[in-house]
């Protein structure tokens, strides 16, 4: 009964989404206020329907209703309730439903907060989101329906992928999807603007909070995935340039570019065509990232089964979203004439440079990811593009990007002088150079570059805020009182830039990581990286759906126990797989990392790692996201802030102006 209710709610959501698309787009075209006024209602209706459907699937998972094929294939009754629930989106069909749910949440949020948007724009934005939702809901209903029943139902499910039974990986998809799908709002704004034939400063102000929110979630989602790879896979690596990882990095790169170019649209009414294109491209990459990886066509360690039929279906759906958008862009973009002019050396110029570099990195990663399958297609030979390609191509582009990141905020809008700006950064440059030289002399060339870049970014961010409060030029108390007046957006930007510096420091620190593999019997010990590691016990512990070998490994320094680590090896009998459970002790500066290898003859192979600064990689990402979140709180970014400028007349030859219908 519950699954049927879910199926019905899914069908209802699909109909509502289709109505949302047709009625609102038609209403906006005809300036029909009654049709356009339906926007929030339809968006909320769709959300309620999908939420019901999703709850039905979660319920079926929670009570282990194995008559539902999806539950029988990917769950089992002994799994803990938490993983039963998170298992709802741990498979293809369920994750599509989650994707649609997040899209509906975004649509409803636009409906809720969009009261001060022009009625036609709001109707078009929500209408475009409805059109996208209708396509994917139709896909969920027909090609990957999670509510298909099995008769007779099996006694036990086929079990959950043990790798997914991990807290970080369980919450990874929803956060990543909030990021991916969040970019549907800037996308819908871009399409709506092309339909309206106008992009103005207000457009930039409306798009920016959405792009920023999605960007924060995407940053967290990518960091979470990388952290999982670090602690779960047990090899100490954190980024492998795997196609699945790259496909989440691509929208992040173009999304970061959009975040910055939208500022120029808002402040200077420039870069309009470019920002609209970035909004379309970012969502297109998000879509491809979510779905093409699932077709199994990219050779990845994240093994998705090769499913050509499903892949073709998804491809057709992607084509239906992306091709008309880019066609509309090609025909309407020339209408969007820039209003503000600026000199190459200016804040705008720095943001253009940032955009060029970010998009170049995205192009390189895109090429490297798609080259192997396309080489197979064109030349008929298989090859793989590995980390050396990405490292050697991304690094030369990342260096000027990092340099510009501290320089950009010192430049003024419209026109700036480069030399005084460089002078303002003299002590930052000196400190970065000093750090670089010390590291280069003492240890490692590449790490020196990383630490210098990280110093440059962090001190550059501090300098930016210090200059705004005129630190040390005014009495300290006055500087502090000025801090309250600094816009939150500026503080957020400085924090986000510093966050990247923290991440770069973490990545550079990993060059000093040390590792050792030893075979120990209980009672034996080894000295490594300045610590004394003893294996005191090796216990057999049965769990709910697995058997575990758990080691007790106290690590001590100068005779004092610093940490007691419990690396484990889990065997899942239902699935017949082994999962290593690493134990990591961190003090946020250094990670002591242990993993259990083969257990035999009463002893165990123990892998020990000493990873200096490793936690900073993910801490930096959190700082970046926090900076983004702080910017969101800036009242200038809130839609409807009093600073809103009167809308400018559309440029000559720019077609008709949309009438502001009452809504």
């Amino acid at each position: 009964m519950i699954p049927e209710l879910g199926n019905f709610a899914l069908a209802l959501a699909c109909c509502l989404a289709a109505a949302q698309a047709v009625l609102l787009l038609l209403g906006a075209e005809r300036r029909d206020a009654r049709l356009m006024a339906m926007a929030p209602g339809l968006a909320f209706g769709q959300l309620i329907a999908i939420a019901t459907s999703f709850a039905a699937l979660a319920w079926s998972n929670a009570i282990s209703d194995f008559s539902v094929q999806n539950v029988a294939a990917f769950s089992q009754s002994q799994a803990p309730l938490f993983y039963k629930l998170t298992g709802t989106w741990g498979n293809h069909d369920g994750s599509i439903l989650l994707w649609c749910l997040v899209l509906a949440i975004c649509g409803a949020t636009v409906g809720a907060f969009g009261a001060n948007l022009p009625a036609t724009l709001r109707a078009r934005v929500i209408g475009v989101m409805g059109a996208v939702a209708a396509g994917f809901l139709l896909f969920a209903l027909t090609a990957s329906n999670p509510f298909t029943r099995l008769s007779p139902p099996p006694m036990q499910g086929q079990g959950m992928n043990p790798l997914l039974q991990d807290p970080a990986l369980a919450i990874h998809p929803p956060i990543l999807y909030l990021g991916y799908v969040g970019f549907s709002v800037p996308f819908a704004f871009a399409i709506a603007a092309l339909l309206e034939r106008r992009v103005d400063a207000a457009w930039g102000r409306w798009v920016r909070p959405w792009a920023l929110t999605s960007w924060c979630f995407l940053t967290c989602g990518i960091a979470l995935g990388s952290w999982w790879a670090y602690y779960d896979l047990g090899w100490g690596g954190f980024w492998f340039w795997d196609p699945v990882e790259n496909s989440s990095l691509l929208p992040w790169l173009t999304g970061t570019a959009l975040l910055h170019s939208a500022i120029v649209v808002e402040k200077r009414e420039s870069l309009k065509v470019w920002s609209v294109l970035l909004a379309i491209v970012t969502f297109s990459l998000s879509l491809s990232g979510t779905f093409l990886t699932r077709s199994g066509i990219l050779n990845s360690v994240h093994a998705f089964a090769v499913a050509p039929t499903r892949g073709l279906f998804i491809l057709a759906l992607l084509g239906l979203v992306i091709v008309p958008s880019l066609l509309l862009f090609a025909f309407r973009a020339p209408i969007l004439a820039p209003a503000g002019l600026f000199a190459p050396v200016s804040r705008e110029g720095a943001i253009v440079l940032n955009n060029i570099l970010l998009c170049s990195i995205a192009a390189v990663v895109f090429t490297g990811t798609l080259y192997p399958p396309f080489a197979a297609l064109v030349a008929g030979e298989q090859l793989s593009v590995g980390a050396p390609f990405f490292n050697s191509t991304v690094l030369p582009l990342a260096i000027p990007l990092v340099l510009a990141m501290s320089l950009g905020p010192t430049l003024s809008w419209k026109r700036a002088a480069l030399f005084p700006a460089l002078l303002r950064l003299w002590w930052v440059a000196l400190a970065a150079a000093a750090v670089g030289i010390i590291v280069a002399l003492g240890w490692h060339g590449l790490a020196a570059l990383g630490f210098a870049g990280s110093t440059w970014l962090i001190l550059g961010a501090i300098r930016d805020i210090a200059a705004r409060v005129r630190l040390f030029r005014l009495p300290l108390s006055e500087s502090l009182s000025r801090l309250a007046g600094v816009p939150l957006g500026a503080i957020g930007a400085a924090i986000a830039h510093a966050g990247l510096g923290v991440t770069i420091a973490g990545i550079s620190g990993m060059t000093f990581a040390a590792q050792r593999v030893v075979f120990l019997h209980p009672g034996q010990a080894t000295d490594f990286a300045g610590y004394h590691w003893a294996l005191t016990a090796l216990d057999h512990v049965p769990g709910p759906d697995f058997n575990a070998e758990v080691a007790t490994l106290p690590a001590s320094r100068d005779g004092r126990i610093v940490a007691v680590l419990h690396p484990a090896d889990h065997t899942f009998p239902v699935q017949g797989t082994d999962v290593t459970d690493t134990a990591i002790r961190t003090n946020l500066v250094v990670d002591l990392y242990t993993a259990l290898g083969a257990v035999h003859d009463g002893g165990a192979e123990v892998r020990l790692r000493y990873d200096p600064l490793a936690p900073w990689i993910w801490l930096g990402a959190l700082v970046m996201a926090a900076g983004g979140g702080l910017s969101l709180a800036d009242r200038r970014l809130r839609v409807g802030a009093p600073a809103r400028r009167p809308s400018l007349p559309s440029p000559p030859g720019g077609g008709r102006r949309p009438a502001r219908a009452a809504g």
């Binding site: 050779n299 020339p334 297609l377 298989q382 980390a387």
Partner: protein, 187 residues
């Protein structure tokens, strides 16, 4: 303004063109995958049935390197394994290689396009399953063997003829169903 707009249109169609080309390529790939002609995980090699190509590798401590000459007068078949520390599947494959070594299989590893430090990290993290080790810093040996990525494995019989090839990591079923019978056949 209108003239400018028309002049700029071809460039604005560029993103669409990229998407269409990529889309057509994906459709073709999926079509081929459907008909079983394309498998992203299967990599063919033309050397199977032929003698080991002329190549040489440098020392990779603790290994001293080896070359084509070392494949003459073998007393047992050799599994040649191309790997790199930056390659995720190579790490995944390492425990299986160690298991094969424990069964007495001779595994000759060629470290492809790697840094010394990272290579030692690999051995420290995953152990050393290799009987002999060679360094291929500029990929010359990789070109000679016609590999397209790492990891790739070749089985060379006692006469120095390449008998079997696998592009991608070894897996327990492949070892049990294919590699072990071949090892017995050519032992």
């Amino acid at each position: 303004m209108e003239r400018l707009a028309i002049r700029r249109r071809p460039l604005l169609l560029l993103p669409l063109a990229v998407v269409v080309v990529a889309g057509v390529g994906f459709v073709e790939l999926l079509q081929q995958a459907k008909e079983g002609r394309y498998n992203p995980h299967k990599v063919p090699n033309l050397l199977v049935g032929h003698p080991v190509p002329a190549f040489t590798t440098g020392p990779a401590p603790p290994g001293t390197g080896f070359s084509a000459a070392d494949f003459q007068h073998l007393s047992h078949p050799v599994l040649v394994n191309f790997f790199a520390s930056w390659c995720l599947p190579c790490h995944a494959e390492a425990p299986l290689l160690t298991e094969l070594k424990d069964h007495g299989v001779a595994i000759w590893g060629i470290d492809y396009s790697d840094s010394k430090a990272a290579f030692h990290g690999f051995l420290a993290a995953d152990g050393n399953p290799f009987t002999r080790l060679g360094d291929d810093p500029n990929g010359a040996a990789a070109v000679a063997w016609g590999i397209s990525g790492v990891p790739e494995s070749f089985l060379v019989d006692r006469e120095g003829i390449i008998r079997w090839h696998l592009g991608g990591p070894l897996s327990p079923p492949v070892v049990a169903d294919t590699l072990m019978p071949l090892l017995h056949k050519f032992a």
